[in-house]
Symmetry: C2
Subunit: 336 residues, 2 copies
């Protein structure tokens, strides 16, 4: 049976969303979970719920004395051997678990994943890969969404390759199209980094050229490549735009009884929109380029987001995405 | 009477939005316009409308044989002396007009503004300054919104100074707060460029530290500083997010008669939202750092956007923003 290591500590809203998300996932999928953290806390959370013996049998509590706080430095994570994320990553390293999920300190998770589990040979830098809703019936992925602030062109080429294989093997897109995030669609557009990257990517059939910020949501490509600084900016700006629109619209609706009534009648449509753009439905973000699947979840994840992040971990294992990326980089090395 | 040079050519939808926007502005404000372009086209557009003699007297048509096409290189603009934008900028250079507005090729406008009118002494690079709606009752400005793709830290400091003075003298914000666009709010966050810029900006009282993509819309600062590449990315990503939300919601509403009815009842609220986030209401984007006011409008501008861009030109003249920026950079030079 597939075994997943779940870091239960360090998320914004404590262990409850992690435990609830896990229980929901255990009901729908057949796997075993190592739940790593303060076992007293975790036991009390589990005890407060009615659980079947089948589910209880598939949870193993593992105690960790400590966890990485949000204000701590990621670079210290490897020295802090008593933390929950250190244990959870350790389970993957030893082979006891096949994948790891954490909503704790993302820098610490990245650092430990790289140092303990290790990078796939040939991958210059691991990248955070985030799923985005589009107006079409398939999502797009953007990478790097925040792991590497300053990048070289070769890193972005690696991100493109990893994104292509993720879209192909995990999302099952037949011929994934890859675009390079830039300030215009024309080939000549870009800054120093993207212009150099453009040249390197032009050798690949999957490369469809430059795309703009608005292309993230229109489905014109499947994979959008950028450095982690840009990725962070566009994701947060998009979230900000969406949340501001919602705030302004709500305030305007509240101003009149007729508008409020209209909103109630149209509520099904609003709910459908919310589900489509809700980050929770997309789970976490896989850290691509690591030898084993590691899923980084938002610190503010609710139970549904944790549940979906666990499904991502299972899909990453089932699709053997890490092996596919390893093979892809091996064959490049052979060609070179 | 204030005189504005209006480049009538090269916009996506021809001369009509320019002419209609101008006529509306002439009804509301007392100024004279030089309307530069294909006079046959412009005369026929004006003839098709009923105009009072007061308005007609305040329009002077000036013929230009040619205009810069969107696919042309900005760097060729200075050689093409028969274009409408060359004439319009020339009117400002000669002092016949006090400001220029164009919805044509923005690169050509920037290039001619810099080469013909000239940079303010001490300003390293002119920047495009764009107004953004926020959830508060005042807008925020972001610069550079696209003029300079690769920037040095000193350029960003100049953008901060120009943005501060624009917010103070044109938007009339008492003590404008300036933020640096980065991948996290903590002082330690950033890429090489923003980390170096952070140090330089720390000397200024108006500097409130790093801000994230989502801060563009929440009003936590008034001025957001970034390089033109990032500015372009976050603006287009935000536009994309907003337009996708609208597309998805419309499709969901259409699925049911009850939702459609609800939408009709709530229409006032949707209209108010649309007005608040409509780019047209914010007009164009001033090119700050040039000795005279130059307003760059979206190629797709409608009449309302052109009208608002003309108001921006008038406000730029009335507020003497170029003089204020000149004085600010003079006093820095004196301190140094």
């Amino acid at each position: 049976m597939l075994q997943i290591a779940l870091d239960a500590m360090g998320a914004d809203n404590g262990v409850e969303p992690v435990v609830c998300g896990l229980l929901q996932a255990l009901q729908n999928k057949n796997f075993k979970a190592y739940l790593v953290g303060d076992t007293a806390l975790l036991k009390s959370s589990l005890d407060s719920k009615r659980l079947s013996s089948d589910i209880l049998q598939r949870i193993e509590l593992l105690h960790a004395d400590d966890y990485v706080r949000m204000e701590e430095k990621a670079s210290d994570a490897n020295k802090r051997t008593t933390t929950s994320i250190y244990h959870a990553i350790g389970l993957v390293k030893s082979g006891d678990a096949s994948a790891c999920v954490s909503a704790g300190h993302s820098g610490a998770t990245m650092s430990l994943a790289t140092l303990q589990i290790g990078r796939i040979k040939g991958v210059s830098r691991p990248a955070i890969c985030t799923c985005m809703p589009t107006i079409t019936n398939r999502c797009s992925i953007i990478l790097d969404a925040g792991a590497n602030t300053d990048c070289k062109p070769e890193y972005l080429v690696d991100f493109a390759l990893m994104g292509f294989h993720y879209a192909k093997h995990v999302l099952h897109y037949e011929l994934p199209r890859v675009g390079l995030l830039s300030n215009g669609e024309e080939d000549s557009k870009g800054n120093d980094l993207t212009k150099q990257t453009f040249k390197l990517l032009s050798e690949y059939d999957f490369f469809k050229g430059n795309v703009e910020g608005s292309d993230i949501f229109n489905g014109s490509v499947d994979v959008i490549v950028c450095d982690g600084f840009m990725g962070n900016l566009v994701l947060k700006a998009s979230e900000g735009a969406a949340s501001s629109i919602s705030t302004i619209l709500k305030a305007e609706i509240k101003k009149s009884i007729i508008s409020s009534l209209g909103y109630l009648l149209a509520k099904t449509a609003f709910k459908a929109l919310k589900k489509k753009v809700d980050y929770a439905e997309y789970g976490g973000a896989p850290l691509l380029g690591i030898k084993k699947p590691v899923i980084i979840s938002h610190g503010k994840s609710n139970a549904r987001a944790m549940e979906c992040a666990i499904y991502q971990a299972i899909e990453a294992c089932d699709s053997k995405i890490c092996d596919k990326i390893t093979e892809a980089f091996q064959s490049i090395a052979t060609i070179k």
